[in-house]
């Protein structure tokens, strides 16, 4: 048995007195595409942010590719990892945000090159070549020298995906990648994600696109109030939800 790509053990996170994650357990195998759905405020974004340690959980553990994220463990005690080690872990986990967060002072190709140059120390010429390839892969070769403000939302999100892919991650996290887009631009982004899934990338996708979940997802997780209420194969779960809360939520979004 190989180690799973992601293993989450009784993950808890609160902000002050607000408990946002209340014990999340989850195992994701290599190459799986897991879609996460749930009402607003249920803790989906917080879960993703705990996976690459942008948020520090109060309890529980996250393993990516068998490696404990954010801490080293000795004799049952956790110590925060040194910055450099944590950065290495984040490098291997790509993250795509709802509002893109492209670097506005850099062109599309420079955005994709940024991590290669600033993190991996790749030379400018090599970085440019890799960035050009990646932009081509997301269908934006002709927009390489545009600044983010000159691109449509869908184009910006595809640049953001290319920017993450440049780090050669083993896991990609998507936090509502299409929710900020005009409906006619959603398709292009989903198409890129579909191709990425087909290439064998392990992906966790927080989304309201049930079509994508059904078609591309291997596994569907329904969250509410910081807990996983129900999970399973997308078709089954969408067709016959077992819990009232799942049913109530799905009836609203479908």
């Amino acid at each position: 048995m190989t180690t799973p790509m992601v293993r989450c053990q009784s993950l808890r996170k609160s902000f002050g007195r607000l408990e946002v994650l209340r014990g999340i357990d989850m195992v994701i195998e290599r190459g799986q595409v897991v879609c996460v759905v749930g009402p607003s405020g249920s803790g989906k974004s917080t879960l993703l942010r705990c996976l690459n340690h942008l948020e520090e959980p109060q309890a529980g553990r996250v393993y990516v590719d068998g490696e404990l994220i954010g801490y080293s463990e000795r004799g049952g005690r956790l110590r925060p990892l040194p910055d450099a080690r944590l950065r290495r872990q984040r490098e291997s986990i790509g993250m795509v945000f709802q509002r893109f967060h492209l670097f506005p002072h850099r062109t599309a190709v420079e955005n994709v090159m940024e991590g290669l140059i600033a993190v991996k120390g790749v030379g400018a010429a090599d970085a440019r070549k890799r960035a050009d390839d990646l932009l081509d892969r997301v269908g934006l070769a002709d927009r390489a020298h545009h600044y983010p403000a000159q691109l449509s939302g869908g184009q910006q999100q595809r640049v953001a995906i290319a920017r993450s892919l440049a780090m050669s991650p083993k896991l990609m996290l998507f936090d509502e990648p299409t929710s900020a887009l005009d409906p006619e631009l959603v398709g292009d982004v989903l198409e890129v994600m579909k191709n990425l899934a087909a290439s064998g990338m392990t992906m966790i996708v927080v989304t309201h696109e049930m079509g994508f979940a059904r078609e591309v997802g291997d596994h569907l997780v329904f969250m509410d109030e910081g807990m996983i209420i129900e999970q399973g194969p997308p078709r089954d779960l969408l067709a016959a939800p077992q819990h009232d809360r799942t049913r109530a939520f799905l009836s609203k979004v479908l």
């Binding site: 690459n52 942008l54 910055d83 450099a84 950065r87 290495r88 984040r90 490098e91 986990i93 790509g94 993250m95 945000f97 509002r99 967060h101 492209l102 670097f103 506005p104 002072h105 850099r106 062109t107 940024e114 991590g115 600033a118 993190v119 600044y147 983010p148 403000a149 000159q150 691109l151 449509s152 953001a160 920017r163 993450s164 780090m167």
Partner: protein, 322 residues
Amino acid sequence: MNRSVDERDPAAPGPASAGPAGPETPETNRISHPVRPGRWLAAGVTALVLAWLGWSVAVNPNLHWDIVVAYQFDRVIMDGLRVTIQLTVASMAIGVVLGVVVALMQVSDSQVLRAGAIAYVWFFRGTPLLVQLIFWFNIALIFPEIGLGVPFGGPKLVTWETNALVTGFVAALLGLSINEGAYMSEIVRAGLRAVDPGQQEAAAALGMSRLKIMKRVVLPQAMRIIVPPTGNQFISMLKTTSLVSVIAGADLLTVAQRLYLTNFEVIALLIVASIWYLVLTTVASVGQYFLERRFSRGFGVTVPGTLRGRIGRNLRFSGSTR
């Protein structure tokens, strides 16, 4: 959100060939603007007043234009000009560095660093610069010797006499730059706060170190906010250096004053100095314009206003924060 980057000067030729213009669509819209008699009247009066002012200044026998011409490039004046430029550039350079350091202290997680930064800004913004300058000039009255060694009254390795160390120029530099640092830190802090926190997150998710995030992601974006007020500070500093005349600073205004105390050409020498201040602020305005253009790259907006309008605005003395 996507503002066009093609915003051009309306006077510039538009992209006439862009798009298939229908046969009945004219190339440019001919709009007949209504005549505004009030505006014409105001313009006429303004022109008249300006002409009258210019004429009365030009022919006024009390202004001694021949003396102005004679002293404009005088050696002593040129030395003062050099000191003014040196003081401005050095104080601004130190002030900007101090400002960045103190701003980073203010946004740090450490309470002690934050408290130190707040105390610094509170003190140096809260007391008049003139007092600070006189204070630095007379620092020897409080600390007659300055030494390197164990603090809190321990033994010293080396000591210097303060009066030898803190010359008029050094006192001026200390006063101006430390005061400037307090103002700059507020400007830098505003710039840092203007950058979307999502930027830091995206960079951190790529695996960038804090230092790199600051240097490559946050500061370049903050610069767009920081540069315009910093340009104003620079221009203001050119004029503020004249305050060091109270501590015998040998700057442009001080040397002009020394000259008129011997030859009594008060007005002529003040005009000489003012002409140089105007030249300096004009040059600085041009520099500011190009810096702003450089740092607004990617934001889809062109620097507002023309170069000419910018120079005019910067000459106003009301821009001074002191």
